[in-house]
Symmetry: C2
Subunit: 496 residues, 2 copies
């Protein structure tokens, strides 16, 4: 390894340590910190953010990147590619603008919490305007893009363009709208009453822990805690942390939420330990990351084999609530499709339409072709047209999501891309793992876990997301496998 | 405020934020982190330590200290005094030596864990030799001291000298040895069987939480967790964290341990919030800090009024175990004096002799007047002479404490100084708070809490420890009040 590459690695490792420290402080804030610690914690996080930014955007990093000369095809080459990309993006944005975006995001978040509580879009509007204005200034720091929205999208999904996502989503929408309409005509065919009832939290905790342990969670390298807004994070391959939340009246929340976060956590836990403390030791992109959570939550845990295993665990834990409920009824219940108001509660089929709505509105916000004050009206009309639901108030409409309040514009698309990629990976895994269904039916996820580890996880960020997906599934992100998967599942359930 | 002072404050605040981040990572490591996270966590802590050291020892800090010109008598003046002291100490020690001390401490700690497990002093000896050798090199970085050990002591207790502590401890020893001998003759007068039995952990948890809430703990600004080696820490005045550990067979462990840590936490929680993010926002010294934990654990919670309240809480929580045990029996049980092997399990009276032994051995280690390999023999003889106990193995003798393994030489004295200061503060508080006993008997610690907040806590590190103590008690650290307190308590209990 050249001396420059070696020094670059050392500097990036230190920067990574400091960024990880910020992540640990963030986890602690959401899961552990007493409420009155918030003021000082904000200062601590602000300082860490500044130090990381200063150290990373230093001229010396640029000189080391130029001098590094890694071996072609080596990990060093991937390191230089990824670090150069991140460095050039970070250098283009003046520190003052970056700080102002962070500040406006914090203020916007606070305003959103209060505005959503009162369902008061007017009160949130000036903060949203400020966030959009700052994002437009952010876009101006870059050049060479076709569409200004491409700049934002690229922060969350490297290399994806608005045109490409727009085409995928148009195709997806054209498939989903008639499918959902067909299901709606037979809505009474599936009930999910079995998931609602009395499920004491102590029992749910033991159940969730047991299921995660079957999937690969272990006390030695993972945590499982509670948080009002569940998430997964990791501070190294041996320290992966999941959170979930428990609803004593609905057994689906904690169980499927935890399996979702497990998918994220498994990705991080299986990244090659040699990539730890480098910018390569992360998921390839948000879309690829989301493909992992959705693969485990939806494709595996709502699929017939593993749902059968879960049914057995549930019946054992909650014998009264599950008296007379067979595996088939449970399988149908967890796959019920029903248009609804809230994205995070949406089923697999309608979920995509929630995302497409947000993506299309974001493009218009950045293009300036929609007045921000008209968002509620446009939102509500679209929910009526696409999903047939009436939005009763903005809290359950345009104000429901946190993203825009903190300045995250360009993020939503990755959720739906995750669904598409998950279906593509699943198609491939089934072709390569002939015993997959029978092992999942026994509650054993080890073959899928190993396959994902080998094909996707261990590489971290060594390949650009597009290349990683192509290496595994043989082509670009595509809609057809997801639609085929949905039809194959919902056709028999709804008798379509 | 001068521009230089203002810039100094800003720089120190950032350094404080980074040091706090390291503390949060340390808390997380002891309380939350999965075991396999240890490798990466050590790197993260190493990086934070280096960045803090680099930023603090920067020449620019020295220039700002010179240029600051604070108003006489202002907080700025205290800030400059404390920061200059810390800066000059940090600058005298070459980074390589500081790093080597940290590294040897980490290796020594690991070796000690294994050596203690096997009670194998020989295996630990080379690591202890290395730690002492490095401490001697550390001492050489300084000048102007009378005794090399003064340099080490000053790191834990600003301004204290070996001669001064030696004189205090000689006086203390002369009082304790005959007192303990007199008690030993009437050893059967007090039993503590009531504290041993079956105390389910769930009940203990609720009890401890309830008692701490009466004392001033609140969910909004504090945490209470479990850790194998209990400690207290804080990351700002609104984020104070205690840990304790539960023994289902002994109710004293968790309860008195938690009250001890509460004393530390209360100190941090009542420091003037205006001192947050500065080097003044900490306890004045380890001795003063320990005076707070021992005041609450021993003087308050083993004192007759509050012990009566605790008896009521215990009898309510564990009615079977406490059937037929009255408040007087409980009071006597928690004040039983019995020479024993282990410092952390020692009673109030014998505790001092454990410390004096360690202090005197440390002085000899640094003076070179004892061969380190002779430590076990000297230790065991001294335990026999002073306390009349036979040390069966080094695990329960010279290997019992963690301090020397990590290079902490000079620390132990502060524990006994804490006992002395606690008794001095108590004497003063009783004189100024006429209703103190009756409020404590009702489980109400608010008047003592407020008094300590006003006299001690709010000042943080604004006064040197010697000056702070003198301001409150009217003189230097002294032995007499502690001995008088002990005699007043043990005399009636043991009929001396």
């Amino acid at each position: 390894m050249s001396e420059a590459l070696s020094e670059l690695r050392e500097r990036l490792a230190e920067i990574h340590d400091l960024a990880s420290a910020a992540s640990i402080l963030g986890w602690d804030q959401q899961v552990m910190m007493p409420a009155r610690g918030a003021g000082v914690r904000a200062e601590q996080l602000g300082t860490l953010g500044r130090v990381v930014h200063e150290r990373f955007t230093d001229d010396a990093i640029g000189r080391l990147l130029d001098a590094a000369r890694p071996e072609p095809g080596s990990t060093g080459e991937a390191l230089v590619r990824v670090a150069r990309r991140d460095w050039e993006k970070a250098r283009r944005v003046p520190s003052e603008l970056a700080a102002e975006i962070a500040r406006a995001g914090a203020l916007g978040h606070q305003a959103w919490v209060e505005a959503r509580e009162r369902s008061d879009f007017e009160a949130f509007l000036p903060f949203l305007q400020r966030n959009v204005e700052l994002k437009l200034r952010y876009v101006e720091c870059f050049d060479g893009y076709e569409d200004p929205y491409d700049v934002l999208l690229d922060d969350y999904e490297e290399g994806m363009t608005s045109a490409e996502v727009g085409a995928l989503f148009a195709e997806l929408r054209a498939e989903l709208v008639p499918l959902i309409a067909a299901v709606a005509e037979r809505a009474d065919a599936v009930e999910d009453e079995v998931l609602h009832g009395e499920f004491p939290v102590a029992g749910q905790r033991a159940l969730v822990r047991g299921v995660l342990e079957r999937l690969g969670w272990s006390r030695e390298g993972w945590r499982l805690d509670e948080a009002p807004h569940p998430f997964a994070t990791s501070f190294g391959p041996g320290d992966v942390r999941l959170t979930t939340r428990y609803d004593p009246g609905y057994v689906g929340m904690a169980l499927y939420g935890a399996i979702h976060e497990f998918g994220h956590g498994l990705y991080e836990s299986q990244i090659d330990p040699a990539l730890a403390r480098t910018p390569l030791g992360e998921g390839a992109s948000l879309g690829v990351h989301e493909s992992q959570s959705r693969l485990w939550e939806n494709v595996v845990a709502r699929g017939r084999p593993f749902a059968g295993f879960l049914h057995g665990e549930l019946a054992r834990t909650f014998p009264e609530a599950f008296a007379g409920v067979d595996a088939e009824a449970y399988y149908r219940a967890v796959n019920r499709v029903r248009p609804s108001l809230i994205r995070v509660e949406a089923d697999e089929a309608t979920y995509g339409l929630h995302i497409i709505l947000r993506f299309e509105l974001e493009r218009e916000m950045i293009a300036g072709t929609i007045a921000l004050r008209d968002l509620p009206e446009v939102w509500n009309a679209r929910m009526r047209d696409d999903l047939g639901v009436e939005v009763p108030d903005d809290a359950r409409g345009v104000l429901q999501d946190v993203h825009w309040s903190g300045g995250d514009i360009g993020y939503f698309a990755t959720y739906a891309l995750g669904n598409l990629i998950a279906a593509q990976l699943w198609e491939r895994a089934r072709a390569e793992l002939p015993d997959l269904d029978s092992s999942l039916a026994a509650g054993d996820g080890s073959s899928l876990r190993a396959w994902l580890g080998d094909r996707v996880h261990r590489h971290g960020r060594c390949y650009p997301p597009r290349e990683l997906v192509a290496r595994v599934v043989g082509g670009p992100v595509a809609v057809a496998p997801f639609v085929a998967y949905l039809r194959a599942k919902l056709g028999p359930i709804y008798g379509l």
